[in-house]
Symmetry: C2
Subunit: 326 residues, 2 copies
């Protein structure tokens, strides 16, 4: 990979006026990882940052409110756009020639290095309005000039959806009509829910990046690493359970040990629970472990049902983890 | 318009083994019209055909089971594909050089003649899996050679979704990656429901063709032309009410009078009811008539709410009808 080209991963942040916003993290791994700052305790912020530095090659803090730059001014003019300006900051990363932005509620399930063959602005269609791209995953070229133009566009036109997706689709408005190579296949930004369409059965097995859309995120649940049980209000979520388990397996195996080491004596909430406490949870769900073989898993996937939380899924993840930890 | 180029509109049919299938109808109008054979009484089929001939410039019957051609043989091999073979018949209309196919559950709300500037196979993305096109509206070139290849593809590969959309996306599999000009804007095949995404507020006002997806069709309701009331189980449908009213206004004003004349003494079900009977309907809904002006309608549209069944909508339709009946 071109050394000037780097995988950039942006943490989805809870925007809070006056608060420092931890938002940028970058890493080169065979399996990419995104993390949400929701998972880092605010009361031990410095320790959390230390963990992030262990996980990612580069961690940058973005505080639009305290930045004193053009983004701050833009936010003062358009406070309604909130966290949008934080995301746009990725264009200032001019020490990279090309980047891939990923929301923290995405999960890479296959290597996606080939994304760097694409040009700005490449993104996958948004299923809600497929002439717009979804701004959870996109290829871009950092540039202070583009950054300035984006901020100008923001203050002059606002956002039709109130967020960064509206701004970016407004600015890169020729995405839908001009260059097919800038249309990433849907498997690079696959929504995790509403698997009603049979296309998922035809193409879903090739998923590259899963996007946990909606209000309920993987970290809204709790997880028992021993029994591979996920607990929480599963009714609320129509999240594809395979992807949800994949997320928890990756997080609990790769991140939580670093958090345990990093926080030391400081208490922190990892989202992981002991087997006994999971069974005391009133929302506790049945165990998803099943001993099915991969062939069966594939068959059931193709039938759009079952297997999901199965042991074979665990095995698959284990392989990924082995590759990642090598 | 090139005389060899003609608007082709296909009636969605209820496929019934052994039954004649009335499926093709074509018309040149400033506002196009599609009709479902669900609206034609089976017991007075010939009279219904007479009405279709009044509405459309050309009406063709397709009976795959009795056709004795390659489609019949294909259907015998793959009975699971059912009505799919009926739709594929449109490629045999070789007396036209280029056609636009439209499902009978679509409604053209603005002139779409410019579709004939597109090449085969042009279609809009399917919101369920936006790397596939929705086969409810597409531009194609009739060709016996293509027809033969499609049937061959059908029998060899089947359909990943069990219908024509799977077959056509399989055959025209380079749609997602090759030629942007074959991506019709989403406004040419706009689903009528799930208006949660704000894109509809940004772009929905430019709708060209509305597609009444799902099981509940406009003709599943009843309508009182006098009070402009639509009755039926509205809970089941999340259909955008403006479009639903538009459909009923067009149908009740333009088609029902022809049916009344065509059927004469023969009873038929138009879906239209008298005001009194509508109010006796246990599922009767409140009247949607409102006296709002167009500016207000636009505003409310942009806010993603209200106006829908309003008088101004009625006025708009009236204008369309005037143009159509001229």
């Amino acid at each position: 990979m071109d050394p000037g080209v780097c995988a950039l991963e942006l943490l989805r942040v809870l925007f809070s006026i006056g608060a420092w916003i931890c938002s940028l993290a970058t890493t080169i791994m065979s399996t990419w990882l995104t993390l949400s700052t929701d998972l880092l305790p605010a009361e031990s912020y410095e320790l959390g940052l230390g963990v992030l530095h262990k996980i990612f090659d580069e961690v940058l803090l973005v505080d639009v409110l305290d930045s004193g730059d053009a983004a701050h001014l833009a936010l003062m003019k358009r406070p309604d756009l909130g966290v949008t300006f934080t995301k746009l900051h990725c264009w200032t990363l001019t020490h990279y020639s090309k980047c891939v932005f990923m929301d923290a509620d995405t999960m890479v399930v296959q290597n996606v290095d080939e994304l760097f063959d694409r040009e700005e602005l490449s993104a996958a269609p948004d299923p809600g309005w497929p002439d717009c791209f979804n701004s959870g995953v996109f290829v871009f070229r950092p540039s202070n000039e583009t950054y300035g133009k984006l901020l100008k566009y923001c203050t002059e036109h606002g956002s039709f959806d109130g967020g960064d997706q509206g701004v970016l689709n407004g600015y890169f408005s020729n995405w839908a009509t001009t260059d097919m190579s800038k249309h990433l296949p849907f498997i690079y930004n696959l929504r995790d829910r509403n698997y009603t369409y049979r296309g998922i059965q035809q193409y879903g097995g090739n998923a590259k990046v899963v996007h946990f859309l909606g209000q309920t995120k993987p970290w809204s649940y709790t997880f028992d690493p021993e029994t591979k049980r996920i607990s929480g209000d599963m009714q609320e979520a129509s999240t594809h359970p395979t992807f949800l388990l994949d997320w928890w397996m990756l997080y609990s195996s790769s991140v939580v040990p670093m958090m345990t080491e990093g926080y030391g004596d400081q208490p922190f909430h990892s989202g992981c629970v002991e087997g006994s406490s999971a069974s005391q949870d009133p929302h506790h769900t049945e165990p998803y472990v099943s001993p099915e073989a991969s062939e069966e898993r594939k068959q059931k996937w193709e039938q759009g049902q079952a297997d999901y939380m199965g042991m074979d899924s665990f095995d698959n993840i284990q392989k990924k983890l082995d590759a990642f930890l090598k």
